[in-house]
């Protein structure tokens, strides 16, 4: 077998694995979220389909696929079709740079456990999370509905303002790791995870990631009691499903990013690296669900004030201080 064929096969196998794990993970995250929220409200959550409701995601998928695919009159058809795909694809693509385990040896060759170890992984991630805004904005715009439009506008401004804080909170990480590659960032946390080394950056990243995934304290783009369903009001069937799945894949991605940037990625004692990685991602996902069960939605002006007047100055200050400390330690 020629060399390039093995490389290609390995990449395809990794891709398939990541795809499979991500999609089933997202599907079961929905179930986990519904169950956990139910328990927090002293209910059981879905428990009818299969044992413990474990087949619920399947039932949901069947339901979404068999629903009518409705296009509103005078909607911009092409954009309307493309927007949900954008939301899901950008979320999926971001996982390409996430390293989930140290390289392993297979067929006498070293296989990095990451789909593609870019040396500018951080920038790639930031770029894709900016692209994710288009799904929201275009979906809201193309629906030809006031609620969708308002949701789209809100989503646009919210994501743009929180992206700044998110990018700025990653600067100290890059400074400390001295690399843009996610693998190197994980390896730099060999002794202490960055969450302990720079808790402020961790907190800012956590908050802006929650805003980025449009989840509950920051779910203004969909705000169901103000805007019906926000940017996906007019979507039905699997197009809505794509937005929905995209949101949960996004949650997994952002969990993986928090894990890589701040929680030390796959590093950890006793357990195999991949288990550590999954555990950390699931812990972050649980935290997001917990937040959803706990906090009410912010008002729009509170959201903007918090982003521009608190998070961004704080993260700028954090960049300066971290840089100064690093310079001072170098001597």
């Amino acid at each position: 077998m020629p060399e390039w064929l093995i490389t290609l096969t390995l990449i395809l196998v990794k891709l398939g694995l990541v795809f499979f794990v991500l999609l089933t993970g997202a599907a079961y995250l929905v179930l986990a979220e519904r169950k956990l929220l139910g328990r927090m409200q002293l209910r059981y959550g879905p428990n009818r389909v299969g044992p413990f409701g474990l087949l619920q995601p399947l039932a949901d998928a069947v339901k979404l696929l068999t629903k009518e695919d409705f296009i509103p009159a005078q909607a911009d058809k092409f954009v309307f079709f493309v927007a949900p795909g954008l939301a899901a694809v950008t979320a999926l693509l971001a996982f390409a740079v996430v390293p989930f385990s140290p390289p392993i040896t297979l067929f006498g060759r070293e296989v990095p456990m990451v789909v593609c170890d870019l040396n500018i992984g951080v920038l790639y991630f930031l770029g894709l999370s900016s692209l994710a805004v288009y799904g929201v904005a275009l979906g809201g715009w193309a629906s030809n509905s006031k609620y969708a439009l308002l949701g789209g506008i809100r989503g646009l401004s919210q994501l743009i303002s929180y992206e700044l804080a998110m990018g700025l909170s990653l600067v100290p990480v890059v400074l400390m790791a001295r690399s843009f590659s996610l693998t190197d960032i994980v390896l730099a946390q060999q002794s202490v995870p960055f969450a302990l080394l720079n808790p402020l950056a961790f907190l800012i990243f956590l908050v802006s990631v929650a805003a980025e995934s449009k989840r509950i304290p920051f779910d203004l783009p969909e705000a169901e009691n103000e805007l019906v369903a926000g940017f996906h009001t007019e979507y039905s069937g699997m197009r809505f499903g794509l937005f929905f799945v995209g949101e949960y894949i996004n949650m997994m991605i952002l969990g993986a990013m928090i894990t890589v940037f701040f929680l030390g990625g796959w590093l950890g004692p006793w357990l195999p690296p991949i288990v550590w990685f999954l555990l950390k991602v699931l812990a972050v996902a649980f935290f997001f669900i917990w937040v959803r069960g706990t906090l009410p939605r912010l008002r729009y002006d509170q959201l903007m004030h918090f982003g521009w007047k608190v998070l961004i100055p704080l993260s700028l200050l954090n960049v300066v201080v971290t840089g100064a400390v690093l310079l001072w330690r170098q001597g």
């Binding site: 139910g38 328990r39 409200q41 002293l42 209910r43 059981y44 917990w290 937040v291 069960g293 706990t294």
Partner: protein
């Protein structure tokens, strides 16, 4: 300190939700766990009988007039002894909203609500109950009540022949 209050207000709820997550849910899982509804629960409607075993219903149409969704219909008839009853009596449970106004309107306690709520069908027409389906062999909530001992029977000839009734008084006999 306002900031301190805000931070506390943000962190405290997390403890509350976590504590509640570990508590037992209060849900009653219906098909497996059934609760008995209270005796005055308003569900399936029945037609009751008086202690003698006769139908209480006198087909006065008050229930069908009181019904806000018009789900009760009947046809009045009279027995040879002058006793009124319904020739047929029909309740469309697919329409019924279980408001209980019929039971309240009924002067003879014939129509009553029972706590039996689980009688859904896969076809709406099977929810149309006829008189035979509605009649039960019991007095329901007030077993002793017997309307016909007092009223509701046709006038017999000669006058005063019914139970509970005196014959007409000869006015000339009770002059002062």
């Amino acid at each position: 300190m306002n900031l301190w209050r805000d931070i506390k207000g943000t962190v405290q709820p997390f403890w509350v939700t976590l504590r509640n997550m570990l508590r037992r849910p209060v849900t009653v899982r219906y098909p497996e766990q059934k609760r008995t509804p209270p005796p005055r629960y308003r569900a399936r409607i029945v037609l009751t009988r008086d202690p003698d075993g006769g139908e209480r219903c006198v087909a006065c149409y008050l229930c069908s007039a009181a019904c806000p969704v018009d789900c009760i219909s009947m046809q009045a008839a009279e027995a040879p002894d002058g006793r009124r009853h319904a020739a047929w009596f029909r309740i469309n449970f697919a329409r019924c909203i279980y408001c209980g106004l019929c039971a309240e309107a009924c002067p003879t306690l014939a129509i009553q609500m029972t706590p039996d709520f689980a009688f859904c069908k896969d076809e709406p027409l099977r929810l149309v109950y006829e008189k035979e389906d509605l009649l039960i062999n019991d007095g329901g909530k007030d077993r002793e009540y017997n309307f016909y001992r007092h009223a509701g029977i046709g006038v017999v000839n000669p006058r005063g022949g019914n139970d509970d009734e005196y014959g007409p008084v000869d006015v000339k006999s009770n002059l002062p």
